[in-house]
C-alpha cells in the first residue's frame, strides 16, 4: 500500500480520528454528510458526534487526498440535492493500514497489561 503525504495525496502517518471514523462510516455504503454523522454517532454509541465544521473540513481534506470521492446520489434519495460520498480504493487501503496500526498498538498494550488478553 502506498500512503503519500504531499498535497492531494493520502496521508503517510496515522489517520486523524475523524477521518478514520468517516472512512468506517462509508465502508459499506455511499452516504451524504448528515448520514455520515448519524452513522458515526451510531457506531460509537453516541460518544462521537461530528459537527458541521468538523465533518466538512475533514471531507474536504479527504477529497483532496483521494480517500473518498463525491458521487451522484441514488434517485430514490429523499433529497437529490444532497452530495453523496463514497470511499475510494486509496481510502480503503488507508483504513486497513490504520486498523493494522491500531491492532499492533492494542497488541502492545495487551503485552504491557493495559488491555485484557484475548481468551
Amino acid at each position: 500500500m502506498v500512503l503519500r503525504s504531499a498535497d492531494g495525496n493520502p496521508p503517510a502517518g496515522p489517520l486523524p480520528d475523524v477521518v478514520f471514523h468517516i472512512l468506517v462510516a462509508l465502508a459499506d455504503n455511499e452516504r451524504h454528510g448528515y448520514s455520515v454523522m448519524q452513522e458515526v454517532t451510531a457506531l460509537t454509541d453516541g460518544r462521537v458526534r461530528l459537527s458541521p465544521g468538523t465533518l466538512y473540513g475533514a471531507i474536504q481534506r479527504m477529497l483532496e487526498q483521494g480517500l473518498i470521492e463525491e458521487v451522484r446520489g441514488p434517485k430514490a434519495a429523499a433529497d437529490e440535492r444532497r452530495r453523496f460520498y463514497r470511499i475510494t480504493t486509496d481510502g480503503r487501503r488507508a483504513a486497513v493500514a490504520e486498523t493494522e496500526r491500531l491492532r499492533r498498538l492494542l497488541a502492545q498494550a495487551r503485552i504491557a497489561g493495559f488491555a485484557p488478553k484475548r481468551t
Partner: protein, 356 residues
C-alpha cells in the same frame, strides 16, 4: 416539493458560516446548513436547541480558525515550492525583503517612540520644553540656568507651572552591596507638573527644595522592589544616598522611569547665589495653561518668556542701539523707535531712515 422557510436557528447558522474562508463556505455552506436543519429536526425542544447551539459554537470556534490557518499554510507551502525551484531569484528577493522589513521596523520603532506614542504623563499636549539657544555662538540648544528658571517661574503668564531637572547618578549604600543607580535632581514641583502620583507616600514639598537641604528622596517602583524587597513601610525610612542619609518620602508607580532610565530622585536644592546665569545644566519643562492649538504656538510662547534683569543681557544685540550699542531692557517685541540713552546719542528710526 416546496421548501419550508428556515427556522431562526438555521438562518443564524447560515450567517455564522461567514466565519469560514470564502472557498470553503461556497463549497460546503449549503451542506452544513442542511445538516444543522436535520439536526434540529431530530428534536425541537428547548434543551435540544441549547445543546445543538453549544456544539455549533464550539465547532465554529475551533474549525473556522483552523480552516484559515490551513489556507495560509497551503499558500506558504506553495510559495516555498515556487521559490525553491528558482534559487537565483529567491536569494535576492529574500535579501531585499529582509533589508526592507528590517529598515521599516527600525523606522517605525523610532517614529512610534518619538511621534506616535503619547508621553506617559497627564495631558501631554500641554507640556513644553523650555530651551534656550545662542545662535550667534552656534549653539542651537543649551537648556537653561537656575536664575533664568526662577525668572520664568516668576514672570511667565502663559505657563501654569515650570519645573526643571538635571540627570545624575546616585550611590546607594547600607543594607547590602553598594549600588549605583541612574536618577535625577528635580525641582520640588516636577512630578506634580508631569501629573505623576506616587503609589506610596508623596512627592516633594517646596521646603525640601531649598539651598543645601538634603533630606528627601523618592524611589522608583523597580528600585523599591529590587533593593528594599517592596517593603510597604519604606516611606519615612532613612537610607544612605551618596553618603548622606535621606528620608524616603515616596515610591513612584510601576513602569515610571524619568528621564529614560532614572530610578531615584532627589530635590535639586540649588543655591541661587552659587548658580549664575552662565551655568547651563538644567532641563526645564513647563505646563501650558491651555493646550497647543497648532505647532506654531511654541514660537509665540518663546517670545512671551520674561526678559528681565540679566536674562535680557543675554541678547543685547536684539535691542541695542546701532549707534552707541546701549541695550534696552524692554518687553517690546519690535525694535524701539529711538535709543533709550538719549543723553549719549541721538539715534532714532527716523534718522536711520534718512541715512539709508
Amino acid at each position: 416539493m416546496q421548501d419550508l422557510p428556515d427556522s431562526r436557528s438555521v438562518r443564524w447558522y447560515r450567517r455564522l458560516t461567514r466565519l469560514y474562508r470564502a472557498p470553503f463556505r461556497h463549497e460546503y455552506e449549503t451542506e452544513m446548513v442542511a445538516l444543522v436543519r436535520d439536526r434540529q429536526a431530530e428534536r425541537s425542544d428547548a434543551r435540544a436547541l441549547v445543546t445543538l447551539w453549544a456544539e455549533l459554537l464550539v465547532d465554529l470556534c475551533t474549525t473556522a480558525p483552523r480552516e484559515h490557518a490551513r489556507m495560509l499554510i497551503d499558500d506558504l507551502r506553495h510559495a516555498a515550492r515556487v521559490l525553491r525551484t528558482t534559487p537565483a531569484l529567491t536569494g535576492p528577493v529574500v535579501l531585499v525583503l529582509a533589508v526592507g522589513i528590517g529598515a521599516t521596523t527600525a523606522v517605525f520603532t523610532l517614529a512610534n517612540g518619538v511621534l506616535l506614542r503619547p508621553l506617559p504623563f497627564v495631558a501631554p499636549d500641554r507640556l513644553v520644553l523650555l530651551d534656550e539657544s545662542a545662535p550667534a555662538r552656534g549653539i542651537p540648544s543649551m537648556g537653561t540656568n537656575f536664575p533664568n528658571l526662577r525668572d520664568y517661574q516668576r514672570e511667565s503668564r502663559s505657563l501654569q507651572q515650570i519645573g526643571a531637572y538635571f540627570e545624575g547618578g546616585f550611590t546607594l549604600t547600607g543594607g547590602g552591596e553598594p549600588e549605583r543607580v541612574d536618577g535625577a535632581w528635580v525641582s520640588w514641583n516636577l512630578f506634580d507638573l508631569l501629573g505623576v502620583q506616587p503609589v506610596l507616600g508623596r512627592t516633594f514639598r517646596r521646603e525640601e527644595d531649598g539651598p543645601k537641604i538634603e533630606t528627601a528622596v523618592i524611589l522608583s517602583h523597580g528600585l523599591w522592589q529590587r533593593r528594599y524587597g517592596g517593603d510597604p513601610g519604606i516611606v519615612g525610612h532613612t537610607i544612605p544616598v551618596g553618603g548622606t542619609p535621606r528620608t524616603v518620602v515616596g515610591v513612584m508607580p510601576q513602569g515610571f522611569r524619568f528621564p529614560e532610565r532614572g530610578e531615584l530622585w532627589a530635590p535639586m536644592s540649588l543655591d541661587p547665589v552659587a548658580n549664575t546665569r552662565t551655568d547651563y545644566f538644567l532641563t526645564a519643562i513647563a505646563r501650558l495653561k491651555t493646550a497647543l492649538p497648532s505647532p506654531r504656538r511654541p514660537r509665540r510662547c518663546r517670545r512671551s518668556l520674561p526678559a528681565s534683569g540679566a536674562s535680557t543681557q543675554r541678547r543685547p544685540q536684539e535691542w541695542s542701539c546701532p549707534s552707541c550699542r546701549f541695550a534696552t531692557a524692554s518687553r517690546q517685541t519690535t525694535q524701539p523707535s529711538s535709543c533709550a540713552c538719549s543723553s549719549r546719542c541721538s539715534w532714532s528710526s527716523r534718522s536711520r531712515a534718512r541715512t539709508s
